[in-house]
């Protein structure tokens, strides 16, 4: 196992209260595996991504849990040791490449610097930078361009080139295509896939479950700070268990099916004061229809159970209450 996250909880200590952004999240990523976290805005998926590299933005704090990477608990490393891992063993790509690229420096220099900080000598880094640009389909003559001279898609390619510099074991990609057009999105996804084929594991974050379904090996569904379902793409797409996963699958338009698209009623809860019991129960149509679930879903939090091999769900419909 490359990455094992156990019982991870992250709270944001804001002026208006404690936001329980992530609570008790447990999952793992194998070598050469692509795992995608899906959920709506505010579900905590990006916060999990930032926690893996220990860059949770303030006022966020990791309050409990373990993040085991190749057997080491990343949460126990010193800042210096962590810096050795970031950009080398674990690298990241964000939604807006302008937040990770320096607008005042040439893209080639930024690529070179990403390598020299880890001790590669300058000439070698330059050579490798050119190779990397070519690999991400940026003509080598753009080496001396500034980020603003590139299109959004090209900038994202540059940030992927930087992330690829050391053939990382894990790439964290947080909505890297959300700001891009579909054709460009498709080519960025191709690029990430080629990285995976070379042996990198992928931790991908998106709000679009169809994008998740298309390329990943496994999907993790998050709702209001909780992991509610985890399994292979086939398990999640063909046999979604959690009512939220089912609703999510029904809410996206698909060019190749005639199934009606249904919106998910209601809004995600305020995480300063999440609903009691299952956090999804106020929006759950099964809870609304089945009277016998009263006093269970709205009172007791469901535990994650393994429904079938490798397919986990946290929902009272499948067991998961404490007194069973």
């Amino acid at each position: 196992m490359l990455l094992e996250v156990k019982d991870l909880s992250i709270y944001y200590y804001t002026l208006s209260g404690v936001v329980k952004a992530v609570e008790g999240v447990t999952f793992s990523i194998d070598e050469k595996e692509w795992v995608t976290f899906v959920g709506e805005s505010g579900s905590g998926k990006s916060t999990v991504a930032s926690a893996i590299i220990r860059l949770v933005p303030p006022p966020g704090k990791i309050v409990s849990g373990q993040i085991m990477f190749e057997g080491k608990d990343l949460l126990k490393l010193s800042e210096e040791e962590m810096r050795q891992i970031r950009g080398k063993d674990i690298s990241m790509v964000f939604q807006d490449p302008m937040t990770s690229l320096d607008p005042l420096r040439k893209i080639g220099d930024q690529l070179v610097e990403a390598m020299t900080v880890h001790g590669v000598d300058e000439d070698e880094a330059k050579e490798r930078a050119k190779e990397l640009l070519e690999k991400v389909n940026i003509p080598p003559d753009r080496f001396d361009y500034y980020p603003h001279q590139l299109s959004g898609g090209q900038r994202q390619r540059v940030s992927i080139a930087i992330a690829m510099a050391f053939n990382p074991k894990l790439l964290i990609a947080d909505e890297p295509t959300t700001a891009l057009d579909v054709i460009v999105q498709d080519s960025i996804m191709d690029l990430i896939q080629s990285l995976k084929e070379e042996g990198t594991s992928i931790f991908f974050v998106t709000h679009d479950i169809s994008l998740a379904a298309e390329r990943s090996d496994k999907i993790a569904v998050m709702y209001a700070g909780k992991l509610v379902e985890f399994g292979t793409v086939e398990q999640i797409v063909e046999n979604p268990l959690h009512p939220y996963t089912q609703a999510l699958l029904n809410s996206v338009p698909d060019l190749w099916t005639e199934k009606p698209v249904k919106a998910i009623p209601g809004y995600p809860p305020d995480l300063r004061n999440p609903p009691r019991g299952c956090r999804f129960h106020p929006r759950c149509h099964i809870f609304a229809e089945k009277g016998e679930l009263k006093g269970l879903c709205d009172a007791e939090e469901p535990m994650m159970i393994e429904y079938e091999k490798g397919h986990f769900v946290a929902c009272h419909l499948y067991g998961g209450s404490r007194n069973e």
Partner: protein, 328 residues
């Protein structure tokens, strides 16, 4: 056949490129970005036309030019039989009420200092259609109609209290309170989570039915187009390259670019399949390629495509494509 509500004829919008001091001294000619370069289409009453294309194709400029929020360079806009292209501000006023726009960013299109109820009532006051009390009454009704309940509570809130999806409902409510006959929805759902989009689209659909309202739905997402549009028009670098009934365009795309857009859409139901490989990105609109503007990226391009610009031709009933080698 009834008269179309909106007729756009050979509409053009060119933006001059700012010259540097040296170019000005040398009296270099002013160059233009041809954002919209001669597009024509019609929209019937109650019909939704989706205008689809990538960033920079001119779709947003087209939408704004049609409403005369920006002035056209050339061409004609005929609304309900009246040529509104040259009307003065004053003459345009009664038409403004009948044509509305919904912007992409619900964070930028609401004043942060105005209660959302007042924001919704505001257009009624501007157009002198109601006094303060009536306007408030109607705004409350509209809040309820768009699902922001309890409405009297929402009336008093400010935009920062609302989520993106709720704000977009406010923006829609504000546009709909005037009962427009035509609305331009410019990427109205692209900043909203996928899971919330269907609800917003349902809302727009319900208004289309209630008011028999026509829509120009501008989007980069052809899957959204499939959900709501009767017809689809695909734009590339200022030109419409394909237009036709939604089902027909999606099932039998004739332009290689349309095919590329379709196959790039992720799907739950289907594994990725590529019928056509296109390369590169959209070129600079200030200096578009010769002939067919898509030829540098097109795998089917021939010599003819480099030199001769294709005209829109009908390939099947009401399905037009501008391509020398349409797919079949």
């Amino acid at each position: 056949m009834s008269e179309p509500l909106l007729k756009v004829e050979n509409l053009k919008k060119y933006f001059p490129i700012k010259r540097g001091i040296i170019e000005t001294l040398r009296r270099a000619p002013v160059r233009y970005v041809k954002a919209v370069d001669g597009i024509s289409f019609e929209i019937k009453r109650g019909e939704v036309l989706a205008l689809i294309g990538e960033s920079g194709c001119g779709k947003t400029t087209a939408g704004r030019t049609i409403l005369r929020l920006i002035e056209p360079t050339d061409g004609r806009i005929i609304f309900d039989g009246v040529d509104i292209t040259k009307l003065s501000r004053e003459e345009l006023r009664p038409f403004r009420r009948r044509m509305q726009i919904i912007f992409q960013d619900p964070y930028a299109s609401l004043s942060p200092r105005m209660k959302i109820g007042d924001a919704i009532a505001h257009p009624l006051l501007v157009h002198g259609l109601a006094d303060k009390e009536e306007a408030k009454e109607l705004a409350l009704k509209m809040l309820r109609r768009v699902g922001l309940t309890p409405e009297d509570e929402f009336y008093e809130r400010y935009p920062h209290h609302l989520s993106g999806g709720q704000r977009q409902r406010v923006v829609i409510a504000r546009a709909m309170i005037l009962k427009p006959e035509f609305v331009v929805a410019d990427e109205a759902v692209s900043m909203i989570d996928v899971s919330m989009r269907a609800a917003i689209l349902d809302l727009l659909e319900s208004f289309r039915k209630e008011y028999n309202m026509s829509q120009l739905f501008i989007t980069h997402d052809i899957a959204v187009g499939k959900l709501i549009a009767d017809r689809i028009a695909v734009m590339y670098l200022g030109k419409i390259v394909e237009i036709g009934p939604t089902d027909e365009v999606l099932k039998n795309p004739a332009h290689p670019y349309t095919m590329a857009l379709i196959q790039a859409v992720p799907s739950i139901a289907r594994k990725k399949e590529r019928k056509i490989e296109i390369t590169g990105e959209v070129p600079n609109a200030a200096n578009p390629p010769s002939g067919c503007r898509f030829h540098p990226r097109c795998p089917l391009a021939t010599e003819e495509c480099k030199s001769k610009e294709p005209e829109l031709i009908e390939v099947s009933h009401e399905h037009f494509v501008a391509c020398h080698h349409p797919l079949r």
